[in-house]
Symmetry: C2
Subunit: 350 residues, 2 copies
DNA sequence: GATCCCTGGTAAAACATTTTACCAGACCAG
DNA sequence: CTGGTCTGGTAAAATGTTTTACCAGGGATC
């Protein structure tokens, strides 16, 4: 069905329909449709050839609104991103989106972007995307505890999946954040750190809690405490990370290491620590989380736990597509993480 | 037309159509449509009320595939992004996308994402998005000289706009890159720099050439040369910027300042310079371009020329929407840029 | 009393597909 | 000659809207 650059005919204005192709090749419209969709079946080779060249010559392209109406699907997937300031500029979401896009594209799905604020979710307006036949499936990113009502919409007609987050009973693909916490703790303890702080993300995000749990657990196993005074919320932003770092280091001047819930907070923390006269890593080691591209290009370059964001996006989309193809098993996939050591960590000053 | 959370009825399965609403309220389907679309016209108040409550009760949502088929438009805009590795993770594109999204959303348009590789463009497959009624309009970002063929498709039925790029005769909204080059040059010259290098972006991008021109021009006016040996291509990436910085500083050890075509290359350059034992800014000053969020969080924080990316996205989308509403004047808008001084520049070492 | 207009609505066409059910002719068996 | 099957198709229904043209009945006008 190779039909690239159809001629831009002189008339140019009215779109060419399947009807036109049928007329041009002297067959019924049904025949054209059959050739396009069934591929092999009944139609004789001469007829098929005639129709195909007509299609080529006229530059026919099936109207997907009509197709969608008939098939009751749109071949579009929606990505729901929390509506923050300039959400799409965040490399975290960007990596996930890239993975999703590439996978979707491979199967002929288009991607619709939706920034979903609180009200959007609370009023269930995302259901419109399904009910109005905008999309066949949805990928939720940045979901929080608020989203647990999603549970109620697990009917087979509106498939969705949580991207890099987890909720019991909901389809999801998520990085192993508990392991991430553990790896960070082991790395820091291994370097001899004993007075350690943490800058975590929002408390209503399950992965944030898992990360904290894994980190605290492992520290405890090594006899290192993580008191409340050594925990600060950094809101997942650079500014938040900076502010949190300042609070931590002021309240606990003897801290020699900080673990942050993502790389943006780490970047903010490093900058603020340096501004406050602490050298990184010689005075204070910093470990980030995610390993976004920029992590390698802050100074000092960031030691971080790599969550395979692109792959997480890819897999989520893969799973969603499987759902759309009728697979009916629940999907709860956990991808491994790994420690990436760079320049922002060093042995504890003795 | 306030109709939030329609009941999830027990039947649940077959979508409710305008037909169902008509039956439920004892009027014709035309009447329902009239109420929904015309708003005021002919229909009496009692009837309107009856229909509206039926809509509410049934949780009716118009099927947009059917609407689109009838109206021959989709209410979707496409963003075309060059298909690089993990394109969407690039904060440059992300900021533009955020601006576009917010503006589109305000007018009820949805956003479709498309990563357009070379072949996608060369084979004019993006035309399918129009011809198959996927989208009403398109925003091109990251366009290069290869895209000049776009010129041929300026018919009124397939509106598109170049986002932060320029081409004579094509609609576009672009930052003033020539001024950006000038501001960078004036800043560095003002600090006493005389031996200056530049890491530029791809040569087939018009804005890259404008930036170079503005920079070189202004240096020349101040009697500062910019020989070919002081120019390197950094391919708009961190790695490219790092490699280019190394070449520059090796070939011209006396360089005291470098201007880069975007912030990512600046980040790469700074890191490599430091790795090579040059201190930034005391040995070498670095000026970036764009002022992405991360620019403030590299160390030292980056002096850069702020191109208002979010605003550029917003305006582009605004202009495109005006086109869709029938406005027929060409749009060639240039937004001002400004110098943002941070820590990566200092007076030239004497 | 016929004509006209207004009010409040409806029937039907059109949009571009896919899919189901059917059909005409050729060929063959019995 | 009747009945059956296969081949290569076609007619028509269905999908859910919007919009155009029309219509019935009532009141006002001449």
């Amino acid at each position: 069905m190779a039909r690239t650059n159809g001629k831009q005919s002189a008339v140019e204005r009215k779109p060419v329909s399947i009807r036109d192709v049928a007329d041009a090749s002297g067959v019924s419209l049904t025949t054209v449709s059959l050739i396009l969709n069934n591929g092999d079946q009944r139609i004789s080779e001469p007829t098929r050839a005639r129709v195909l060249t007509a299609i080529e010559r006229l530059g026919y392209r099936p109207n997907r609104l009509a197709q969608g109406l008939q098939n009751r699907r749109s071949n579009i997937l929606a990505i729901l991103v929390p509506h923050l300031r300039h959400t799409f500029a965040d490399p975290y979401f960007g990596e996930l989106i890239s993975g999703i896009y590439d996978r979707a594209n491979r199967s002929g799905y288009k991607i619709l972007l939706e920034a979903a604020g609180r009200s959007f979710l609370r009023e269930k307006r995302y259901l419109d995307l399904f009910d109005r036949c905008f999309v066949d499936g949805m990928l939720f990113m940045g979901s929080t505890d608020e989203h647990r009502f999603l549970h109620r919409f697990r009917d087979r007609k509106r498939p969705f999946i949580l991207v890099n987050n987890t909720w019991p009973g909901l389809d999801h693909v998520v990085a192993d954040y508990r392991a991430a916490g553990r790896l960070a703790a082991e790395h820091l303890v291994g370097l001899g750190h004993r007075r350690i702080g943490m800058i975590h993300g929002a408390g209503d995000v399950e992965t944030a809690r898992l990360l904290i749990a894994g980190f605290a657990e492992t520290l405890a196993q090594h006899g290192v405490e993580l008191p409340a005074s050594c925990m600060e919320d950094g809101f997942y932003t650079e500014e938040g990370g900076a502010a949190a770092a300042e609070k931590l280091i002021t309240a606990n001047p003897s801290l020699t290491a900080i673990f942050t819930g993502n790389d943006k907070m780490a970047a903010g923390a490093i900058q603020r620590l340096q501004a406050l006269g602490r050298r990184v890593p010689s005075d204070v080691s910093v470990v980030g989380c995610d390993d976004i591209t920029q992590a390698a290009f802050v100074t000092p370059s960031l030691t971080t736990i790599r969550t395979p964001l692109y792959e997480l996006g890819r897999r989520s989309c893969q799973r969603l597509i499987e759902r759309l193809r009728g697979k009916d098993e629940p999907c709860q996939e956990v991808l491994p993480v790994e420690l990436t050591v760079r320049q922002s960590t060093a042995p504890a000053a003795s």
